[in-house]
Amino acid sequence: MRGPVSKKLILWSLVWFSIITMSLPTIIIIGASFTSGEMIQFPPEGFSLRWYQRLWQLDDFQQALLRTFYVSVICTIIAIPVGTLAAIATVRYRMRFQKTIQVYLLLPFTVPLVVSGISMMLFFGEIRILGQLWPVGVALCIINIPFMIWSVSASVNSLDPELENAAYNCGAPPVQAFLTVTLPAVMPGVITGSLLMFILAFNEFLVSLFLTDSRTVTLPVQIYNSVRSVITPDLAAVSVLYIVFALLAIWLLDRLVGLEIFLRSK
């Protein structure tokens, strides 16, 4: 009987160790954000919502938050058609240079973000769009598009290749078949990918750092700027905002893809 008991002990110790180390930073930052003192510290000094209140009143943060939303929306809106079509095309259809195209589409992963950031800054400067906000969304879409393609590819791979033939057989011309059968069937991948793209764009820092200035600064860059000057508990409050936002996205994913889960069954 000793064997199973000690095995259980080791396993549970590992599990709890992982859970605690992974969630400790989150717990500390949440705790710190509710402090009533002037410093980030844990355990917090008293309890108050004053830093949240201050955050809300800070014009800089509100503006940065809005800009980040704007950039993330642009990134996602571009990623949905581009990523979906690219994934379906490279997985499903036989074409020349298939492998080459697949590798090319995943290239953004292999380029360090610093390099992407600098090259896009130079390029955007050259075509005179640097300093505007929308190109930041485009840039974030370019560096993160492999996530979208991967997510949709997973759905396309599990798709019955005969479904489109079945649609033709039912009398659907190719475009109709694509819109009414193929697209709905890969929807879970599209939804997962879009949420992922949104979150990634929302959090992206390094490339945004190169592409934004004081008029177009996004939230992650704003946080970075604040940290460099002075660390106050309103930063903890922003972090909690981020955590809440991530949880919201996971909840949304579960609801949407959860509803669509039957798409994966036969």
């Binding site: 033939n165 079945a166 039912c170 190719p174």
Partner: protein
């Protein structure tokens, strides 16, 4: 002549592998044709060319009098039940059945009635709102067949849709497909590797092997008058005996098998003396008897043998008997009444009797 499907000299290759070699077949309106053969014999390729998913390299396909080589799949009036059914997972059963009606621009207000009608035909009344994953295997089959039929196609194609079902459900669905086909009178082409299914369901059978049509005919014809060794072997449980012709005629030949000389049926072509032949006899045409029985008038051929294998199958017993007189050839046979007959143990010597009209002789290597 009211031909619904005519296939003339159709060939198809994939990457230098010839999947179908000059296939010819025709099918009358309202008939049920089964193309049967082992996997990789080209039967599915032929079906997909009829459906319009693949184009033939050469030859003509006519459906309802029109040549369809240049007609894309979605413009052909063909309903198909796919091997894995390919039901649209995001649509309910009723929406699946309505899909071809919408795509083929049926008048909008007639669609709900048609959906109800076909749900009723496949005995799924009241289950229209269910999604495919909420239905059992048999119910999914029924949705698939209703979807293939709801727009009254000229032709129904079945691509081994029953192969994934367990045996009991498969037998049930075979009869169900046949009932629906006869009720609607829709011309049907079924593809299967199950020779039993082919015999049960069809008006016409086509046996294919290695891309070539071996024989076409009615189930009875196919069973009673196989034209070559492949067909004889593929349909039914058959024993094969290798021999040499020692006396020849148009309809019967004398064949020397081992030390014995037996009379066998020839299929009309004269076989030269000394030519090698393959002889085939079906398991149910051989009777097993005690070693000292008198064969009498029932059989005109008898040999002794030793039982090497006995398989109890419930409704019958399958024996494998080695006959030394026939050069040690193994004969397979059924005893259909094991309850009232003797059950012979392994290694028992027994007598086997059969009639020469049930022994077929084919020139060796007649498999096309």
């Amino acid at each position: 002549m009211d031909q619904m499907v005519e296939i003339v000299d159709v060939s198809k290759s994939f990457d230098k592998v010839r999947a179908v070699k000059s296939a010819n077949l025709s099918l009358q309106r309202g008939d049920f044709l089964t193309i049967v053969g082992p996997s990789g014999c080209g039967k599915t390729t032929l079906l997909r060319m009829i459906a319009g998913f693949d184009a033939p390299d050469t030859g003509k396909i006519r459906i309802n009098g029109r040549e369809v080589e240049n007609t894309p799949a979605h413009k052909r009036s063909i309903g198909m039940v796919f091997q894995k059914l390919a039901l649209f997972p995001h649509m309910s059963a009723a929406e699946n059945i309505a899909y071809p009606l919408k795509m083929r621009r049926f008048q909008f207000d007639t669609i709900p009635d048609l959906v109800e009608k076909y749900l009723h035909l496949v005995k799924l009344d009241g289950l229209g709102k269910r999604y495919p994953h909420e239905l059992s295997g048999g119910q999914q089959q029924r949705v698939a067949i209703a979807r293939a039929l709801s727009f009254s196609p000229d032709l129904l194609l079945l691509d081994e849709p029953l192969s994934a079902l367990d045996r009991k459900l498969r037998n049930e669905m075979q009869l169900e497909f046949r009932r629906i086909q006869q009720e609607l009178g829709v011309t049907t082409i079924n593809v299967t590797h199950d020779q039993r299914e082919a015999l049960i369901m069809s008006d016409q059978i086509v046996v294919m092997n290695e891309g070539i049509i071996q024989q076409a005919g009615t189930p009875v014809d196919m069973y009673r008058n196989p034209e070559n060794m492949f067909v004889a072997n593929f349909i039914g449980v058959t024993s094969m005996l290798k021999g040499v012709v020692c006396g020849s005629g148009k309809n019967s030949v004398s064949v020397k098998i081992g030390d014995a000389t037996v009379t066998a049926r020839a299929n009309g072509e004269e076989i030269a003396i000394d030519a090698a032949v393959d002889c085939a006899i079906r398991a149910e045409q051989i009777r097993i008897m005690d070693i000292d029985s008198n064969v009498g008038d029932d059989f005109d051929n008898a040999v002794d043998g030793i039982i090497k294998q006995r398989i109890f199958e419930g409704d019958r017993v399958l024996y494998a008997v080695q006959a030394d007189e026939l050069g040690g050839a193994m004969l397979h046979l059924f005893d259909h009444d094991p309850n009232s007959h003797n059950e012979y143990p392994i290694n028992q010597r027994v007598k086997l009797g059969w009639n020469s009209r049930d022994l077929f002789a084919f020139p060796a290597e007649t498999v096309k």
